[in-house]
């Protein structure tokens, strides 16, 4: 029966979607949610809910790894914020412990910005992305980065300059495009 087959195909597509999001973004999502909630189990719930929302709204999963991840992280963050808020409204719940700091809601702009930065990073050449990863996101020194990347320290310095510039150019272009759409 054609109808049954197409339903089976849809079910298989659902699974494939969830699996691929999980395989590609699961680590980032869970690590982020774990930091925000301070609790691995609560973080897993957040990730589950995030993936299910992505499945419910496949139209938001546009091209480009950066923006998909940005969307997922933003959703995860909102879920965490909403839950903390719900808890705060119910005083009988156990109080937050020092390990679960309250979450402030981001300014919408900075959320949008970090999504755009992610996407811009994704569009950099791998040379440029790698050097920024090393010295900015991994916090390595020029010498350490030079060793990790197998290039002279002088190259790390100049490359990081051009990488930052390239990022800036993509970022500004993207930001205008995105805010144009949103606003």
């Amino acid at each position: 029966m054609a109808a049954l087959w197409s339903r089976k195909r849809e079910a298989a597509a659902d699974e494939a979607l969830i699996r691929s999001l999980y395989e590609e973004h699961g680590r980032a999502l869970l690590a982020y949610a774990t930091r925000l909630t301070g609790d691995r189990a609560a973080a897993e719930d957040v990730v589950q809910e995030t993936l299910v929302r992505a499945w419910r709204h496949p139209d938001t999963l546009v091209n480009g790894k950066g923006s998909v991840r940005g969307w997922l992280l933003t959703v995860a963050r909102n879920i965490v914020t909403d839950r903390f808020r719900a808890k705060a409204a119910r005083p009988q719940e156990v109080a937050e412990t020092p390990t679960t700091p309250p979450v402030e809601r981001d300014h919408a702009d900075s959320v949008v910005d970090s999504m755009v930065v992610l996407e811009a990073l994704d569009r950099l050449s791998s040379d440029h992305r790698d050097v920024l990863m090393e010295i900015y996101f991994r916090g390595r020194s020029v010498t350490e980065a030079a060793e990790a990347l197998g290039v002279p320290p002088g190259t790390v310095k100049s490359r990081s300059h051009y990488a930052l510039r390239a990022l800036r150019e993509t970022f500004v272009g993207q930001q205008v495009a995105l805010k144009g759409v949103a606003g």
């Binding site: 969830i18 999980y22 590609e24 930091r35 589950q48 020029v142 800036r168």
Partner: protein, 233 residues
């Protein structure tokens, strides 16, 4: 001024990786070069925007030890899709076959990942964080090749179990047991391995009247009481 115009260092300067001598040279130069000064402002704005990116955002791949999480998510999606189908196809028995994968052992399931109403505004499921003392375990049986990941949550004098079981052939009839330290076993559920279960594994919830502190292992056996896989916890 003797400072040389070397805009290539500006990026590294903004990123804070120049040594003190280099940084001072850049600063000296900046004081006298309006072009570099303008560049600096742009690069600094970019650096600030990068600072908004959570560091975790740059991790790739699946999470470690997230198997249960994936299974739970798939289960929720399947059951939501099942709900959609049921609503569209009232009275048709086709749904059960398409949804099958969820097996509820022991007569009731604990309420994780329950399907919200499709069509309603997406709600966050308010599953509480598991109680302290929740144990996780995972094992592959060297003989049967079956794999199981379990989560054991303490209740008052008994336990809730969530198990993801894979690598068992279709049509095998299985029982899930909670094994106590004194060797006592309590059944936490039973199921029949489906084609999908053989391929993707089966996730099930169960419970057993064995005190949390007495739990030694979670075990799957067939109906001939042959052990398929044991996970010590």
């Amino acid at each position: 001024m003797t400072t040389n115009h070397d805009p290539q260092l500006l990026g590294a300067y903004v990123l804070g990786v120049l040594d003190e001598r280099e940084a001072r040279a850049v600063e000296d130069h900046l004081a006298s070069c309006s072009r570099c000064h303008a560049d600096l402002a742009e690069l600094r704005a970019m650096e600030e925007a990068m600072g908004d990116v959570p560091p975790e955002a740059l991790l790739d791949g699946p999470p470690e030890g997230g198997d249960l999480l994936l299974q739970r998510t798939l289960r929720q999606v399947r059951s939501e899709r099942g709900g959609q189908l049921r609503r569209r196809q009232v009275g048709l028995g086709l749904v059960a076959a398409a949804v099958a994968a969820v097996v509820l052992g022991g007569g009731f399931a604990v309420g994780r990942g329950t399907a919200p109403d499709v069509g309603a505004i997406p709600q966050t499921s308010t599953a509480p964080a598991p109680p302290a003392g929740t144990k996780l375990g995972s094992a592959t049986d060297p003989d049967t090749g079956a794999r199981m990941t379990v989560q054991v949550k303490p209740a008052a004098g008994w336990v809730r179990v969530n198990a993801s079981v894979a690598g068992i052939e279709q049509n095998e009839k299985c029982r899930l047991f909670v094994v106590a330290k004194d060797g006592r076993r309590a059944e936490a559920g039973s199921w029949l391995v489906s084609a999908a279960g053989e391929k993707d594994g089966t996730n099930l919830d169960g419970s057993a009247l064995i005190a949390p502190e007495d739990v030694a292992a979670i075990e799957v056996r067939n109906f001939d009481d042959e052990r398929i896989v044991t996970v010590p916890v």
